[in-house]
């Protein structure tokens, strides 16, 4: 099977997709509702995604569900394509009033909203939900919400969290006021993600685990057994308040079954036993899917990248020339081939993915440096290695145990061998690789990892992955895997974030420069931007995809 056949097959699929999108747009929403409402969507995945507490779960698998079950004060617009980056009012009536100094946000809550258990959504629930983020030690409590006044105390002693001075409610005017310690242009993004979902005030102040919490969206969780299935049914108290923020769903129920391998999931969807598979189809089935099920495949670009973090504090990568040499030597086209061909991935040289805020086409590590990557430059790479005098050193690449990542590791091993290093690959369980490579105690020289956006802002890549604040030596949670900390660039990033509050376009230009400045020091080697393959059943219609929410499940129909 050549890459070319995959390409041809999947391009056909993409063309068909755009055709169906046009016909769907011709009907009005009411007509579509009348024609297609009802039925059950069956989803399938290899394994469950952990707790269904929206303030704790941090997996793509369940965020996709939380977007149509829970709501925050604001949310990302539910539309196809890049428009989804915009924030729209959700439980709030309108976008908040922000004070002149950018510190105070005042939200007016919509009237008449109800949770799925029938109780009213009030301002007290909003306040309690923000406190709960800290009380349950949510994963992003210390990284997204630490800018709220009183958050520091909450992080230190979660049990006594009040967020005093940070959040207050006024029941009479139905408003909630949030005060920050410093202006934050990304604050609305941060409260639009599921971790800031509004839950009933009486929700237990601990991880709900497998016990459903009442929802506000069109669906609610009926039952959850991580070994079998997660069942979502219509929320009887849901009344559509904004099509942009939380449109009503088409299917009457959505059942998520767990336990089939990716291979078996492909077959189940082909046989019509399931409507969608969560896991990515194995690369060896892509040609078959592309030819037999072309009209059931949707390929979409993700705002994400695969990259190689070099440990800048360990030999040989403590020498910038070695990091640059590897960047020059990597044949990104070969990696794209490993991932499934040009339809499924695109080579990248920048940290910010294409079409992401702040991205500017630029490639320093290629033959004829310019805007695009063209071919590896082995001569330059070998010269840099010779200069550094590090050839012959031992290098271990730590990858996880998925077949694609092992292949990427083996390829990188061959690159390092060509450069004169004594390279080996160490493949460990996918579930521990990500924390393992972060901990400096494990002395990982080089690894392969991926990063997906939480929200569309340049700092979500640059500052999170390579900022000084994300480097915690000796901790399993140190997402700056390279251990890279450049005070000067860090100061520029802080300035760019502040600039974004007043002039977002100028800030994005500055982010592009920061991206290039970082890549000059090459703490990482960006490899490619992956695309997402969604394989759906024949009967499934109105498939919409946005980079923020991925597939908008509630907007699809099965009858």
């Amino acid at each position: 099977m050549t890459n070319w056949t995959r390409y041809a097959a999947l391009t056909g699929a993409a063309a068909l997709l755009s055709a169906t999108a046009v016909t769907a747009g011709a009907e009005t929403r009411e007509e579509m509702m009348a024609a297609h409402r009802g039925g059950e969507i069956r989803l399938v995945a290899a394994a469950a995604g952990g707790t269904i507490d929206p303030q704790i779960n941090y997996t793509l698998q369940y965020w996709q569900l939380f977007y149509f079950t829970y709501d925050g004060l604001v949310t990302f617009k539910r539309v196809e394509g890049a428009g989804a980056g915009g924030v729209v009012p959700d439980l709030a009536e309108a976008m908040p009033e922000v004070s002149a100094d950018g510190l105070t946000y005042t939200f007016k809550l919509r009237q008449g909203l109800k949770f799925s258990d029938g109780s009213d959504v009030g301002v007290d629930d909003v306040v309690a939900s923000f406190q709960r983020v800290f009380k349950v030690s949510g994963p992003t409590a210390g990284t997204f919400y630490n800018g709220i006044v009183g958050a520091e105390a909450c992080i230190a002693a979660p049990a006594d969290c009040t967020l005093d001075g940070g959040i207050s409610a006024d029941a009479a005017s139905n408003t909630v006021t949030i005060t920050l310690t410093a202006p934050d242009p990304e604050f609305l993004y941060k409260i639009a993600v599921p971790h800031a979902s509004v839950l009933p005030a009486e929700t237990l102040q601990e991880d709900a685990g497998v016990t459903p919490i009442p929802t506000t969206g069109p669906y609610m969780f009926e039952s959850y057994n991580p070994n079998e299935s997660l069942v979502m049914v219509r929320n009887p108290h849901f009344k559509e308040w904004s099509v942009d923020a939380q449109p009503d769903g088409f299917a009457d129920s959505i059942v998520f079954d767990f336990g089939l391998s990716a291979e078996a999931q492909v077959t189940a969807v082909q046989n019509g036993q399931a409507d969608w598979m969560f896991d990515q189809p194995p690369t060896d089935r892509l040609a078959e899917i592309g030819t037999q099920n072309a009209d059931q495949v949707h390929v979409n670009t993700l705002t994400a990248f695969w990259y190689v973090p070099f440990n800048v504090n360990l030999a040989p990568f403590d020498d910038v020339r070695v990091r640059q040499a590897v960047n020059y030597a990597i044949d990104r086209d070969a990696l794209v081939g490993i991932f499934g061909g040009p339809v499924l991935a695109q080579p990248v040289c920048t940290i910010l993915p294409p079409a992401f805020p702040g991205h500017e086409d630029h490639c320093a590590y290629t033959q004829n440096p310019g805007t695009d990557w063209t071919a590896p430059d082995m001569d330059k790479a070998l010269a840099l290695v010779a200069e550094s005098g590090t050839a012959g050193q031992k290098v271990t690449i730590v990858v996880d145990d998925t077949s694609v990542m092992r292949d990427v590791g083996t390829y990188l091993q061959s690159v390092l061998t060509d450069l004169g290093y004594d390279a080996s690959v160490n493949s460990i369980s996918g579930n521990i690789q990500f924390t393992y490579i972060q901990n400096t105690n494990n002395k990982v020289q080089m690894s392969v990892s991926q990063w997906y956006q939480d929200y569309p802002a340049a700092s979500n890549f640059l500052n999170v992955l390579l900022g000084c604040a994300s480097f915690h030596p000796g901790s399993d949670s140190s997402v700056n895997i390279s251990g890279y900390c450049n005070e000067e660039i860090d100061a520029r990033m802080q300035a760019a974030m502040q600039l974004a509050t007043t002039d977002p376009d100028a800030a994005n230009l500055e982010w592009a420069k920061i991206d290039q400045a970082m890549m000059a020091e090459a703490p990482i080697a960006p490899l490619f931007t992956p695309k997402h393959v969604d394989l759906v059943s024949k009967r499934l219609g109105n498939f919409l995809f946005s980079p923020q929410h991925q597939w908008l499940m509630s907007q699809a129909w099965v009858q």
Partner: protein, 322 residues
């Protein structure tokens, strides 16, 4: 009798204790196994990771952690998973038992009948084409890895020939509880049963044949022949009965191990949510509470099966009874 039972129970407790300590120590000796950061989530602040570490008790001494975990597993019985937080492990294991038991019991019926047939026919028709053919088939059965055979079965029944008359009755992969539908349960399990049984038919058939042939050279068979008994009676009543002893021993051990989770590959390939698949996922996720629960459960079955085999011995072999 009471002493034997007590000794057995002691033995079981000792084995289970040893295994749980071993699992516990291996877990904490694995590099990168510290669950705190994984539970906290990606890019969690160090303070959050510390909170989680404290909340789950990972900052306490290992013996204390072991004691607490055992207490939550056996006494308060509220031990919960590290990965699917809030999910209690004991109900999780108990929920998985019916699928495993259905799979293994059905396969056991197939393999006992199948291997009896293969062993007896091959021994009776020793050195003929039939014998050779059966032995070659058995060898092929033993040599096929169960996960490969399972995937090939799936490829044929779910994918390539799914729409033909041959396999159109096959339901999607997964377990259907017996309480839900007898027909569904049967249909969902037929192919996994055959897949799991093939290996054991091969092994047991070959061993039974060898034992039967050995028995035929014994004095008591010659005596039976001299008395003028029919060949069928000699085979089934005299030779087979003594030859079944090693058969029963092996059956007990294999059955116990399979119910304990060794049918893991079959369960994973066919998407059956049994104990094996539970163990598989727990190992993949380094979910210590579930690993401990499934391992202790498995060791219980292995020891229990051993005890049962001893009792069966007494039934079959009069020399053991005394």
């Amino acid at each position: 009798m009471l002493a034997t039972v007590l000794a057995r129970l002691m033995q079981m407790a000792f084995v289970m204790f040893g295994i749980s300590v071993l699992v516990f120590l291996i877990f904490f000796a694995t590099p990168g196994s510290d669950p705190a950061a994984r539970i906290a989530g990606r890019n969690a602040a160090p303070e959050t990771v510390e909170q989680i570490r404290h909340e789950f008790g990972f900052d306490r001494a290992l013996p204390v952690q072991y004691g607490l975990m055992m207490k939550r597993l056996f006494i308060t019985r509220d031990l919960t998973s590290f990965v699917n937080r809030g999910q209690k492990v004991i109900p999780q294991v108990l929920d998985a038992v019916p699928a495993t038991l259905s799979l293994v019991a059905g396969a056991a019926v197939l393999w006992v009948l199948g291997s009896l047939f293969v062993g007896v026919v091959a021994a009776a028709m020793r050195d003929t084409v039939v014998d050779r053919g059966l032995m070659i088939l058995s060898l092929i059965g033993i040599s096929m890895p169960v996960f490969w055979l399972g995937e090939v079965m799936n490829l044929m029944s779910q994918s390539r020939f799914h729409d033909t008359w041959l396999f159109s009755w096959v339901p999607g992969l997964g377990y259907v509880p017996l309480s839900e539908s007898l027909g569904g349960w049967f249909k969902a399990l037929v192919i996994p049963w055959i897949t799991l049984a093939v290996l054991y038919i091969g092994i047991y058939g070959r061993i039974l044949r060898a034992n039967l042939i050995e028995a035929y050279s014994e004095d008591y068979i010659r005596t039976a022949r001299a008395k003028g008994l029919s060949p069928t009676r000699i085979m089934l009543r005299h030779a087979l009965r003594t030859s079944l002893l090693p058969f029963v021993t092996m059956f007990g051990l294999d059955f116990g191990a399979l119910v304990g989770g060794a049918a893991l590959l079959t369960e994973v390939v066919f998407g059956l949510n049994g104990v094996g698949r539970l163990t598989f996922h727990a190992l993949q996720n380094l979910d210590l509470p579930v690993i401990l629960a499934t391992v202790i459960y498995a060791s219980f079955f292995v020891v229990a099966a051993n005890a049962l085999v001893d009792v069966l011995y007494a039934v079959i072999d009069p020399r053991v009874r005394k």
